[in-house]
């Protein structure tokens, strides 16, 4: 046996799993409440209960103590970032996509020249890292330089990752170096129509490991373990890539999506090229990453229940559930006020399910590509923007909302194509899976070093929903 303990320090729970990577299997899974003031307390509690379970299975104490312990974290607000670019639909969007893929919460994306008002806002937002882009390689120089000077004048004292026009990366860094630590990555958009997010993602992850976990007081926890290697969402994305591509003798599952409906936000990940499936469709707009993540801050079933209900339309929800509009709004407010309460009545459960369904439905609608009809002299032409995910066969639901509800499938069905969304390139007829053992994040920690074992463990735990 070769034991590895995987840890996910979340905002509410610290989840730990023990896996055997020599005869790949999940051995035990426990959790304890995260202790925000000193995360090592909650981690210690979770680890001791894991130890008990393992010892009961006959695993020796020394083995448990000496095994590798790897962690990811979304505690202390997660990785909070601000993205800055030049044109909103080009380098600013590329910077945002890069930050999201690195597992960040993107607090705000700025385009063109930062103003005094932007400056004040950034000061208030208090990001952990700023990603500064702008200009293709050899392209516009003045904007990123202007923005570097503005940020440099602010005494931010935080890391700034520069991933813009490479001709002026160093110059931009020079304006920032007095108050910030600077890191230079390859341009997120080296030329028009080419997205290059991996290098910036990698640098952000490096900065997260080396700096942010200290700045957030997470380092205490990292004394108990080998290290906190990445933000939790970045680990989920890695798991997705691993599962999609396969490893060694374990075959990959092909294109897939992961949907994480949470209390405050809904995350959607897609792994796949998203090439057009509609014959003759022409792709326009910024190409999107093969592994793409989006986060919807207004779609969540507890803390964000009120904005979610507004987006759905209270009357739509009321009609579906046969409730008065005002009752719908009151219920949402109640859920936001008491996020820890799980519904007990059948009416409450149905309400919860409907919220989950719409959160998934709307978040996926924003994630996937769209088709537009263009009427030309020679007839109708289809233009695709974003990823075509209509042929995706695998959709995985992850997170407490799906696991704690008795009808996860009813919620996940919100992902797929229906008659109301003909122009959204959603999965048409996927198979739905439930991440029963909360493995989507922890498995990502194994993806690089033990891909085959990681994949076997995961595949055994994904439950087909039908």
């Amino acid at each position: 046996m070769r034991l590895i303990i995987l840890i996910d320090i979340g905002s509410t729970f610290t989840k730990v799993s023990a896996v055997d990577i020599s005869a790949p299997a999940l051995l035990a899974n426990t959790k304890a409440p995260t202790t925000p003031d000193d995360v090592s307390v909650g981690l210690d509690a979770a680890l001791s209960s894991l130890k008990e379970t393992l010892e009961a299975q006959g695993v020796s104490r020394t083995e448990i103590e000496n095994c590798r312990k790897l962690a990811c974290s979304s505690a202390a607000g997660g990785l909070r970032m601000v993205a800055v670019g030049l044109v909103a639909d080009l380098t600013a969007k590329a910077a945002k996509l890069a930050a999201l893929g690195a597992g960040a919460r993107v607090l705000k994306t700025y385009s063109f020249q930062l103003t005094d008002a932007d400056k004040a806002e950034i000061e208030e937002l208090q990001p952990d890292i700023i990603l500064l882009a702008g200009g293709t390689d050899g392209g516009n120089q003045s904007n990123i330089i202007h923005n570097a000077k503005v940020l440099g004048s602010m005494n931010l004292g935080i890391p700034v990752v520069i991933a813009g026009n490479r001709s002026v990366s160093r110059e931009a860094a020079s304006y920032l170096s007095k108050s910030c630590s600077t890191y230079i990555a390859d341009n997120v958009m080296p030329e028009i129509g080419k997205l290059q997010v991996e290098p910036a993602r990698n640098v952000i992850r490096q900065v997260f490991m080396e700096k942010i976990i200290y700045a957030k007081g997470l380092a205490k926890a990292s004394r108990l373990i080998e290290g906190i290697f990445m933000p939790t969402p970045a680990a989920v994305l890695r798991t997705g890539v691993l599962l999609s591509k396969g490893a060694g003798s374990v075959r990959g599952w092909g294109d897939l999506m992961i949907v994480d409906v949470g209390g405050a936000t809904t995350d959607v990940h897609s792994i796949g090229s998203g090439n057009p499936t509609k014959p003759g469709a022409v792709v326009r707009g910024l190409p999107e990453p093969f592994s793409k993540r989006t986060v919807e801050g207004d779609l969540g079933v507890r803390v964000s229940a009120v904005p979610l209900v507004e987006v759905i339309g209270p009357h739509v929800l009321g009609e579906r559930l046969n409730m008065e509009t005002t009752v719908v709004q009151q219920k949402a407010q109640k859920m936001a006020n008491n996020p820890e309460v799980l519904p007990e009545t059948s009416e409450g459960k149905r309400f919860d399910q409907a919220l989950g369904y719409y959160a998934a439905h709307i978040a996926v609608g924003r994630h996937v590509g769209h088709l537009k009809e263009i009427y030309t002299p020679s007839g109708v032409l289809w233009v695709q923007e974003g990823k075509d995910l209509s042929n995706v066969q695998t959709v995985i639901g992850t997170g407490g909302v799906f696991i704690s509800n008795s009808e996860p499938l009813a919620m996940l069905r919100g992902v797929s194509q229906d008659s109301t969304t003909p122009f959204e390139l959603r999965p048409e007829n996927p198979t739905y899976y439930l991440d029963r053992d909360y493995l989507m994040a922890p498995i990502g920690l194994l993806a690089e070093e033990y891909p085959e074992a990681a994949l076997s463990v995961l595949a055994n735990s994904l439950e087909v929903l039908s």
Binding site: L86, V87, L90, G138, G139, N140, M189, T376, V383
Partner: protein
């Protein structure tokens, strides 16, 4: 010689792709840095690409007869975006039917194009003028 950047594309709902490819190859061979947006390019895409790449000129093609409608407001959009004095050419089949060329030329100059080219213009006729206009 300093490399000059050209943004190239076929405007509007126009899918004629062949001339666009030929222009890309010819301008690249002539030493320009070509940012080719391809066919079906909106005004917004021309403007945004020119900003990010710090382009020196925009080369618009239109073959399907709707050039006038598609190009109206493009110069104004460039002015709004702060790059109003960028050099801009247009070529292709700009109008439907046979119209007096001088009238066509004037119409498109009024729409903000610095040079207007009739059908079947060859790249080698354009390149010297482009070099002269860009001072290279």
């Amino acid at each position: 010689m300093e490399t000059k950047t050209l943004v190239l594309g076929v405007i509007g709902s126009d899918v004629h792709a062949v001339g666009n490819k030929i222009l890309e190859i010819s301008f690249s061979e002539a030493g320009f840095n070509v940012v080719n947006l391809g066919v079906l390019v909106s005004q917004k895409e021309f403007v945004e690409a020119a900003i990010e790449t710090n382009a020196d000129a925009i080369m618009v093609s239109s073959l399907y007869g709707h050039a006038e409608i598609d190009c109206r407001g493009l110069r104004e959009a460039l002015i709004e975006a702060g790059i109003g004095d960028i050099l801009m050419y247009i070529g292709g089949y700009l109008v439907v039917g046979s119209q007096e060329w001088s009238e066509v030329e004037e119409k498109f100059r009024n729409l903000g194009f610095d040079r207007v080219y009739p059908p079947s213009t060859l790249p080698q006729d354009v390149i010297p003028q482009l070099r002269a206009d860009l001072g290279v």
